[in-house]
Every structure is written in C-alpha cells, then in structure tokens.
Subunit: 268 residues, 2 copies
DNA sequence: AGAATAGTGTCTTTCAGACAATATATG
DNA sequence: CATATATTGTCTGAAAGACACTATTCT
C-alpha cells in the first residue's frame, strides 16, 4: 500500500513537465540624489512596448547567481557589483504564455559604472526613479500581498516619462516594491549602501548619506548620521580616513575608504 | 546586426532545457524547550539512508507557495501554519542526478499539530534538535559561504542519534543553517514566534519566552522579555489578556490571546 | 565679509540589560 | 512555612533624534 502510494506520487505525470526558469535583475543605482532602477522596453509580446525588469533564461550550466552576473554584464556592461537574491516568484499565471518561475536578484551599481547606452542597445533601456513606495515590509509575503499597493508606485523616466506600477509588464510592480522594501530594511545593518559608491576607496560621509537618503526617500540628520556611521564602521576598522578632499566648494571633507570584510566579496 | 545578435541569444539551445524545480520544506517546531526540525531518511539514491529535508517536485498547476502547503500537508498532516519562502538554491551540482533547483520554505508548526507518525509513513521521519549554529547572518550569501560552518552543525534525533551537517543529504546542511539564522534574525521584529504556540488564543508569556529561547539557543531575562513583549504587542492590541491560568504549580500566569494583524494570514 | 559645505557638542527620550523585590499559587 | 512560578520595579549605560554651534574653504 505504501509503495503503491509512493509509486503514484513519484510517477505523477505533472512532475515531469518542468517550468521555465528565468532570472530577473533589478539593477539599482543612485544618481542625482535619487534611487533609480534600470528598465527595458519590451519588444515582444506579451506586454509589447511596456517597461520591464531585464531578465533571461537560466542556462543548464550556470547557477542562478552566475546567470544574474552574466545578465547584468550583458545588459549593463558591469561586473563585480553587489548582487543578492531577492525572492522567487512563481504564481501560475504570472506569464500568460507558459509557466515561468523567476528568481529575482537585486544589484547595487554605482551610476558611473552603468553603460547600458554604450552597448549594442538591442532594446530601449532607461533609468527610472521610484516614488510612492510606503508602508512597512515587516512580515509581508511578497507574492500574496503587495500587488494592490505596488500598482500605485510611480516611476519617472529620463524625459519625465511617468509610468505607474500597473503600466509595467508581468508582476514587475510587485517585484520592484519587494526590492525597495528589502533595501530599506537591510540598509542599516548591512553594507548595502557602499555598493552604490563610485569609489569605495575615496568617498565622503556626505556622499554616503545621500545614498541612504535616496534609498529611504527621506532626509537624515547630518550629525546623527555621521555619529552612527563612524561608531559602526570606524571602530571596527571597516572605514578608514584617507585625507582631505581638494578643490571643492566649502570646507573640504574627510575622505574615507571602505574595507570590505572578508567573506562578503562578490563571487566571480 | 542587432536582431541577429538577439536571434542567437533567443535561440541558444540551452535555454530550452529546463531544470527540475523542487520545493523543500523546513518544518520547525518547538518542543521540550528545544527547536526541532523534521527530517526524513532517504529511501532512494543518491544519499540513500541519509537524513534529508522533505521536499517534492513543483507541479505545473501550483505556485511554489501552494506546493509548499501541499507538501507539508502530505508530510506532516498540518494545514494553516505559517509558511514563508526562505531562499532558492541553484548550484549546478547540488544534485548529482540532474539539474535541480530547489525553492526552500520555512514552516513554523506547534508541536501538537505534527502528525508525521500517524500518516502512512512511507519514509522514516524524525524530529532533530539543532546545535552548533553560531555567527552572524549579516549579509551572508547562503549558497556561497555557509557550507564550511554548516558542516559542524550537530543534529540530535529522538533516540539520541547524532547527525552532523556533513552527514546530511545534498546541500541540506547549508539550507538548515540559512533557515535558523533567518529565524533568529526575524524573531524580534516579526510575529514568527507565535507560529509555534499550541494555542494562540490562550498562552502565557513564559511559553512565548521558551519559544524565543529555543530559537535563539540562549536564555533571556524574564523581566526584560515581558516588558518588551507587552510594550510591542499589548499597546497595539495584538495581544490581549484572557484571564488567569488555573490548576498549575506556582502563581497562576495571565493568559493571552494573539490577534494576527490583517494581511499576514496564511494563504489558503 | 558672506556663502557654502563639513564637522562637533549637547540635551532629551527611549530602550536594552542586569538584577532586586514582590505576588500568588501548591503542598 | 517552604517552594515554585509569575510579575513588577529600579538602576545604568547605550543609542537615536532634535537641534544648536563651530570650522574651513571659496569668492
């Protein structure tokens, strides 16, 4: 009886159909004191002409991490950036064509490293700033809850083009909302913000604060921010002073260098 | 040129092979003041005879959330428990047979609800307590880093059977370590602990503290724990007093009832 | 000097942790 | 009363947030 039951379970025909597996990459950057996300305009059905998160199929000889790294290299021409898995989206009808499971990744890229216009430019790509993401992320289940609020999100493109969450392809509005909330939640107990610095060997605390402010979408107290960062990072040697800035308006700022703790480097 | 490049990319043969997708469920419970995990003994190759996390193939007509709920129903006979996605493991060689991607889920189940022995019992199943998980989870990448430390984990079965991380099937030691660290990290800013209560409509703060202590694997100050929980939960009405305990040793404790905030229920 | 930006100091409130003291049950 | 458990109170130090003040550059 037992082996029969097991037999049936093992030979259920549906188990032999495999869903497609894709990797989607949310490429974030901070420029002009705003958090921005790279989107591409779809040139295929479905959602032809809609803006979407770049992605691609997972190949059989690469892990999802590797696929994400490959895809960001292809799409934005960058390597060695911070990349972390965000969530896996698997609702049955999230893609109208066929069953597609998407492993979403979040990348933090300094604006100066992004070369999405320099490439062949097969698709139209643009950076969008993100507004209208509110509320707590505590305990939310990304796939079941976020759709309502995600649709009121407003993205602003380079020419002032406005896109709402519900204008985006697939379930991408919810994915973006999940990513922004994840970043906000992790900002103050991880090194996430440093991934946006143009030069981790020479930056000012004001530059770092602008990154925090862009992610949180609110201004931070200058003095308190300095105190907190210096206490957290300087005491443990993870940031060290590198001398004063030169040739700037106003008082020159102290430059810092960030020492990435061993074990958190980007895997190749 | 561009469409040719795109053509090649779209028709790369590897994109048409699809990996297998499974869902693994880490079924945690707290009994006898210890955090315990349900493992099954494999009755197939590879890793025949080794202990493993229960799992199953994702069917084409169900989301990963649904597959996880189905699988926990089949394996442990429980429904309506807290279930959250943990991480997706996708290393190319994590399964020696074929390419398998596993979406891992974490379930919190009251010990009294677990009926893994009452079922057909196709496989041997047992609850293991977990020791030897240390270190911070801050910013760690589950798939790249945890293997070394995960192997020194020690699991203790019902008859005192000892199993180390490296005795487990597949990459399951690393998955377990990721899960325990996730639980520890989320414990104090989510409602995770309440998922382990036998009766969320009638529990004492001491019972709740035992759950926290089991997950953190350290004792907590009685007074400070009470103060913190009451401040966090009683002011917002998420726990309410329900009268005194009866027929117990020592002073009777106040019984509380937990009101799950709308929007965090287990999906059907 | 005045504008602009960088950096320090202080005060209050909140909160975590250590630990002492009190309360209410059973035997 | 002794024992066992529950509950409250107090003290201290760390840290967040609000906000005022000082410092160093350029024009």
């Amino acid at each position: 009886m037992q082996s029969e039951q097991q037999y049936l379970q093992n030979y259920d025909p549906s188990q032999f159909e495999h869903p497609s597996v894709t990797v989607d990459i949310l490429i974030f950057t901070v420029s002009d004191r705003k958090l921005r996300l790279l989107l591409i305009r779809r040139n295929e059905h479905p959602y032809l002409g809609k803006w979407a998160i770049p992605g691609g199929f997972l190949r059989m000889d690469e892990s999802a991490d590797e696929a994400a790294a490959r895809r960001i290299r292809e799409e934005a021409g960058v390597e060695n950036v911070h990349l972390e898995q965000l969530y896996t989206f698997s609702a049955v009808n999230r893609d109208p064509r066929t069953r597609v499971i998407s492993i979403a990744y979040l990348a933090t890229v300094p604006a100066g490293k992004l070369h999405f216009l320099a490439g062949a430019g097969a698709e139209e790509a643009a950076l969008f700033s993100i507004d209208g993401i509110t509320g707590e992320s505590v305990g939310e289940q990304p796939e079941t809850l976020q759709s309502r609020t995600a649709e009121s999100m407003i993205l602003t493109g380079p020419d002032g083009e406005l896109v709402t969450g519900s204008d985006l392809a697939f379930d991408h509005a919810g994915i973006i909302r999940t990513a922004v909330q994840r970043m906000r939640g992790k900002l103050d107990y991880t090194d996430l913000a440093f991934g946006f610095l143009e030069d981790t060997d020479s930056f000012t605390l004001t530059e770092l604060r602008f990154i925090h402010e862009a992610i949180l979408d609110r201004s931070l107290d200058i003095g308190n921010f300095r105190r907190t960062i210096k206490r957290e990072y300087e005491a443990s040697g993870r940031i060290v002073e590198q001398g004063l800035e030169k040739g700037c308006v106003g008082r020159p700022a102290m430059l810092y260098s960030f020492i990435r703790p061993s074990g958190s480097g980007t895997k190749d």
